[in-house]
């Protein structure tokens, strides 16, 4: 009798062990880890390759040149050849964003890169002398967050007159910004003509 009762126990234990071995991989087949991108297992490859989402240009489709002359270059480098120069108020079609620059197309169909800082999303006022532009908010789309001045910097004071003396009670850098703001690109061009300073 003892021999008979032992036989089913051994067989049952073996059956459970076998079932466990074959069932182990099943949770890995069925589990879905939603925190990771789904991918197809590729033996021997190094990492999962989730499909990248296409990046569409953000912000407005058009920008305006917001300095007396805005250089449009063939590449993003400051030393790239100049394609053309836009004048203040020129409307430019934004083709894509490239860091601090925008790839744009002019009304004449020329394509190149401009510095975002020299553009604005709305048509600029014609009496804005160039220097004030940056400090009044014609910064790139990624930098338009603190309204009125470059982040962390003091807002502009009134422009400095052409004669007299500086108010030395205010910080020196404020005086320098005010001086620079009070000189327009037209002033510089007149100064060059008067002094016979002519680029070759």
């Amino acid at each position: 009798m003892k021999k008979i009762t032992l036989r089913p126990r051994v067989g049952f234990a073996a059956l459970i062990a076998a079932a466990l071995v074959v069932a182990l991989p099943f949770p890995m087949l069925n589990a879905q880890d939603t925190s990771r991108p789904r991918y197809t297992m590729n033996w021997g490859s190094s990492s999962p390759t989730p499909t990248p989402k296409p990046t569409a240009p953000t912000g407005p489709q058009y920008v305006y040149a917001n300095a007396a002359s805005v250089v449009i270059r063939s590449g993003v480098s400051p030393t790239s050849p100049i394609v053309t120069t836009a004048v203040k108020g020129d409307k430019l079609l934004v083709m894509e964003e490239a860091g601090l620059r925008l790839k744009v197309k002019t009304a004449g169909g020329l394509v190149g890169y401009v510095v975002k800082l020299n553009t604005s999303t709305s048509a600029p006022q014609q009496n804005d002398g160039g220097f004030g532009g940056l400090l009044r908010g014609n910064r790139g789309a990624g930098e338009q967050s603190s309204g009125g001045s470059v982040r962390g910097l003091r807002p502009l004071r009134a422009p400095i007159p052409t004669t007299g003396t500086l108010n030395l009670e205010i910080p020196g850098s404020d005086n320098m910004r005010g001086l620079a703001q009070s000189i327009s690109d037209t002033d510089v061009e007149q100064f060059m003509v008067a002094g016979g300073v002519t680029p070759p």
């Binding site: 073996a14 071995v21 030393t79 850098s173 005086n175 680029p199």
Partner: protein, 337 residues
């Protein structure tokens, strides 16, 4: 009975093991060979675990390499550069002395500077120029477009092209981002470049501004960057329409005045020959505006007397060797631009 039932149990076990275990050793070889669902499921399970472990290892290695290596970000963003420049500029003004109060003088220097700055590669910057009330013979700059020149130096110059040369030298340091290059190993600058949050970055930039001010006022840019800036400045002068000899002549004027030379980059016997060679090789025969009369009229408030528009020639090697004695005799002037 024992002899009949035990082999049956063993058969179950061996069947199960045969289905799964062999895949451990030769899973990859069997990748495309088909096989049972058990084999496939075990293979995927073990593979996924191994893949995740490898991924984790790679991430840890990347994290370690990022921590060890210096900043991979070469330059600050334009906005950070301007913020750093403004704070540095204020520290430099505090260190050098107040601005000269005369607005027409300040405007004149700004107009000359803006004329040259039109040729700068950094057309995204707004350049501001300031005359510092100081007898030091020097010009300084801060990132983001800030340029300073002392009344002491203006008194020694004779022409607008010389002033343009001095300003062009500083504009070259700005356009080449020499302060950031020189401070690449500065802990504050590196931290500012690598900071992820705005608050952290602003704090590091404030600290980096002190390093910039110290660099500009005390240490200098070193010979390599200074010589490179001289070349850029001279090209800038020529393309602006000024006499390309402006910077060279300004150096000679300062030397005539007995400026105390600080740093190896100030040694004219090293600096001038390089500049002279470039002028002869690249810009031979080029002329441009000198504008001595306009300069003297514009700085009249400083009481500058008219002298020859052309300074004496470069110091000879012999006079250069005698230079330390003459410097000791005139310790009140600094030569720093």
């Amino acid at each position: 009975m024992i002899h009949r039932t035990t082999p049956i149990s063993a058969l179950f076990l061996s069947l199960a093991l045969m289905a799964g275990l062999p895949t451990l050793g030769c899973a990859q070889d069997r990748q495309n060979s088909g096989g049972s669902i058990w084999e496939e499921s075990l293979r995927i399970g073990i593979g996924a675990a191994a893949e995740r472990a490898a991924q984790k290892e790679r991430e840890e290695e990347e994290k370690k390499s990022k921590e060890k290596s210096p900043s991979k970000i070469k330059y600050l963003s334009s906005t950070d550069e301007q913020y750093l420049g403004q704070i540095s500029a204020e520290l430099i003004v505090q260190g050098l002395g107040p601005l000269a109060a005369d607005i027409p003088l300040q405007r004149y220097v700004n107009l000359v500077g803006r004329t040259v700055a039109k040729q700068s590669e950094r057309d995204d910057l707004i350049h501001a120029f300031g005359v510092i009330e100081s007898e030091s013979l020097g010009a300084w700059s801060a990132p983001g477009g800030w340029v300073f020149v002392s009344t002491g130096l203006l008194k020694k110059l004779q022409t607008e092209s010389e002033l343009a040369g001095i300003l062009a030298g500083q504009l070259a340091h700005i356009s080449q981002r020499d302060a950031e290059t020189r401070l690449d190993k500065d802990s504050s600058m590196r931290a500012a470049k690598n900071s992820l949050t705005e608050d952290q970055r602003l704090g590091h930039l404030d600290a980096a501004a002190k390093s910039v001010a110290n660099l500009v006022l005390s240490e200098g840019y070193g010979t390599e960057l200074t010589y490179a800036a001289d070349a850029v400045a001279t090209r800038m002068l020529a393309s602006a329409g000024y006499d390309p000899n402006g910077l060279r002549n300004a150096m000679l004027r300062a030397d005539e005045a007995g400026a105390k030379r600080i740093g190896a980059e100030s040694k004219l016997e090293n600096r001038l020959p390089q500049l002279q060679a470039m002028l002869e090789a690249e810009l031979a025969g080029m002329t441009g505006a000198v504008n001595q009369d306009r300069y003297l009229a514009s700085v009249a408030i400083l009481g500058v007397k008219k002298r020859s528009a052309t300074p004496k020639s470069a110091p000879s090697a012999q006079s250069a060797r005698q230079e330390p004695a003459s410097n000791e005799q005139k310790p009140t002037h600094r030569f720093s631009f």
